[in-house]
């Protein structure tokens, strides 16, 4: 069975290369001329697209801890095949976010300061620590895959010995900073629009990252399914979809309930810049995919799941961008739109992420966790999506 619209886009390589080059040039400009000349940030709007990107990156990388927790702590071993893709996604996601954060800092040369100068009252400080520690955890979780490939065994054993506390630590760190990204805004009740400001921000951020993180792995497992050879059998994928549906439902209920109790729903009775953004976010990203995932038919169909999880991811992006940008605008007097340089840096870094992912998938045993055996083919790729190169050994194509 074929999945339409798969990302083996013709000409992906030239596109990625262009984006990365443009991004590098933009970054060069940013470092040479400073933030003022190259971004649309200002005293009134000190955080913009990049912070939004960080939210997105971290949220989509949430698969790293949910899947690891499910498989290794809750012993849902049947999900083993997606552990490595999940860890890889998270690892790349976090590295990129750290990179963007450093570009975003006014003093990138001081980026290490939070490690030695603490302020326990600062959410930002907590986030820096969590990011750093969790990226370390991820690199340790990822290291065995590389070492295995290189046939260096002894450190693997060493890592295995500490893997349990490591994983627990990783899950806790994730719980903390996923929600802390929401806590960042707790201190601006006077600035953030009531449709997004709520004392529950950390809770909402946490619930939604579970939905988006799992959606991300489902998307990957579908995209890299390579014809008939699925990473996960349909029933398992359907189970994951159920978890997403539950997370979406819990999120929507908490969100709506919160709007009602705070009285912020008044903002929704008229069509404004904000209410439109809100509706778009909640309907596209939460209600619609939830409704879809209720149907057995959707959960078990690849196309259905593809669409539903894509909606979750898009809606999630809406939500984070709305929190980081829309909700802080004072329409129409004070709005923010990223500058070209901001956009190019963001796109460039995103392209780096995708390229790194497909590169690593090609050379490391990510999608075939058991045997480190045959490595995937190369460049033929750019042509048609599916049929040709499914000739992976054992690939019983067009089945299932």
């Amino acid at each position: 069975m074929k999945i339409p619209g798969l990302p083996r886009i013709t000409g992906w390589h030239p596109i990625a290369t262009t984006l990365i080059l443009a991004g590098a040039m933009a970054a060069f400009a940013r470092f040479n001329y400073g933030l003022g000349a190259t971004t649309n940030l200002s005293d009134e709007f000190p955080w913009g697209l990049w912070i939004g990107f960080d939210f997105l990156g971290i949220g989509l990388a949430a698969s790293g801890f949910t899947i690891v927790a499910a498989v290794n702590l809750f012993h849902a071993k049947e999900y083993e095949p997606i552990v490595r893709p999940a860890i890889l996604t998270a690892f790349i996601g976090y590295l990129l976010v750290v990179l963007v954060l450093i570009i975003d800092l006014g003093r990138p040369d001081h980026f290490w300061h939070p490690l030695v100068m603490w302020n326990p009252h600062s959410v930002m400080c907590e986030i820096s620590w969590c990011l750093m520690l969790y990226t370390t955890v991820l690199s340790l979780e990822f290291a065995p895959i590389v070492l295995e490939k290189l046939n260096i065994v002894s450190p693997i054993k060493w890592i295995h010995a500490v893997s349990l506390p490591l994983m627990i630590f990783g899950v806790l760190l994730s719980t903390l900073h996923q929600s802390s990204f929401g806590s960042l805004y707790l201190i601006v009740p006077n600035r953030l629009h009531p449709l997004w400001y709520t004392p529950l921000l950390p809770v909402l951020f946490f619930i939604s990252c579970i939905a988006s993180g799992i959606s991300m792995v489902i998307l990957e497992s579908l995209i890299f399914a390579r014809g008939g050879r699925d990473l996960l059998p349909t029933p398992l994928r359907a189970n994951l979809a159920k978890i997403i549906a539950v997370a979406l439902a819990v999120y929507s209920v908490v969100r709506v309930q919160d709007l009602l109790t705070r009285g912020a729903w008044h903002e929704l009775t008229t069509l404004t810049y904000y209410s439109l953004a809100f509706y778009a976010e909640l309907l596209i990203g939460f209600v619609l995919p939830f409704a879809m995932l209720l149907l057995e038919r959707v959960r078990t169909s690849r196309l259905g799941l593809y669409a539903a999880t894509l909606l979750v991811v898009v809606g999630f992006a809406f939500n984070r961008m709305n929190t980081a940008i829309t909700g802080l605008e004072h329409y129409p007097t004070q709005t923010y739109f990223p500058s070209l340089i901001e956009v190019f840096i963001t796109l460039g870094i995103t392209a780096v992420g995708f390229s790194a992912f497909s590169f690593i998938v090609k050379y490391l045993p990510i999608f075939e966790p058991v045997v480190a055996g045959p490595r995937p083919r190369k460049e033929v790729v750019t042509g048609r999506p599916e049929p040709i190169f499914i000739a992976r050994e054992g690939g019983d194509l067009e089945s299932r």
Binding site: P46, N119, H121, S122, A161, V188, N190
Partner: protein, 257 residues
């Protein structure tokens, strides 16, 4: 520096002469042009509302939001009152700009080594026992410098003496947890651009409720997850044993510390 210092700004006395800004600019070696808004080169500015002038400047809050959000402690509340800034520590995250409830800190956007700029409450002058330049320059006494407690008494006395002249509120006494700048006004503060959505609770408390859970998440969460692992692992082991031994052969030879 035993006593906390403060300033009392009586809007009924301000004539809008801008002497405070000029003096401030001279003291801080800033370009002497007159400015209407806070900026990198204006640590204080006058906002005009009909016939009233409202002096804006850093409030040097008692529980400063900016200090609480700064990840590296580049901002700090000093004992004498001023909220000080250390550019050597600052990483330029701009959280202070985002969070300050009075929109005070300004950023050197055009620099490649940008810093924050804001009123320093003339900390060096205070250390020498002098009043801030702006208070010294004020010709009408609209800005009065002194000990925090004494100024509060003075402010209350003024309201008592002429109850018809003032709204009965000393802004800054306990707003956002108290500040070092007290305002007396003849009209409600909401009409003068003071944000009415901010209560008496210091803003940092909003975050503390979340941050205070961190140790709990770590300890309780750790135990919980460890327990879950133990239970599910045991179950898995039992199942595996019952079936037959089919575990991964990676660990045996080496460690079991």
């Amino acid at each position: 520096m035993s006593q906390k210092k403060a300033m009392l700004i009586d809007l009924t006395l301000c004539v809008g002469c801008n002497a405070c800004q000029s003096a401030c600019k001279e003291e801080n070696r800033l370009p002497p042009n007159e400015e209407k808004h806070l900026s990198l080169t204006a640590y204080t500015a006058l906002d005009k509302y009909n016939d009233l002038y409202v002096r804006r400047l850093c409030q040097h809050c008692d529980v400063p939001t900016c200090v609480s959000v700064c990840p590296v402690g580049a901002l700090s509340k000093t004992e004498a009152g001023p909220v000080a800034y250390d550019a050597e520590k600052c990483i330029g995250c701009r959280y202070c700009l985002q969070a300050c409830p009075f929109h005070v800190p300004k950023y050197e956007w055009s620099s490649t080594k940008p810093r924050i700029q804001k009123c320093k409450f003339c900390a060096p002058r205070l250390a020498r026992g002098l009043p801030p330049a702006c208070a010294e320059a004020c010709p009408t006494g609209a800005t009065l410098f002194g000990d925090r407690e004494e100024l509060l008494i003075e402010a209350a006395r003024r309201i008592d003496a002429e109850p018809a002249k003032f709204v009965h509120r000393i802004y800054g006494k306990d707003d956002v947890g108290g500040t070092s700048m007290f305002y007396l006004s003849p009209v409600p503060f909401e009409q003068l651009g003071f944000d009415s959505r901010m209560g008496k609770t210091p803003m940092p408390m909003l975050t503390m409720s979340a941050l205070s859970k961190v140790p709990n998440v770590l300890s309780v969460g750790g135990v919980l997850l460890g327990g879950v692992w133990w239970i599910t692992n045991r179950r898995a082991k039992v199942q595996a044993f019952e079936a037959s031994q089919k575990k991964d052969p990676t660990c045996p030879p080496e460690d079991k510390p």
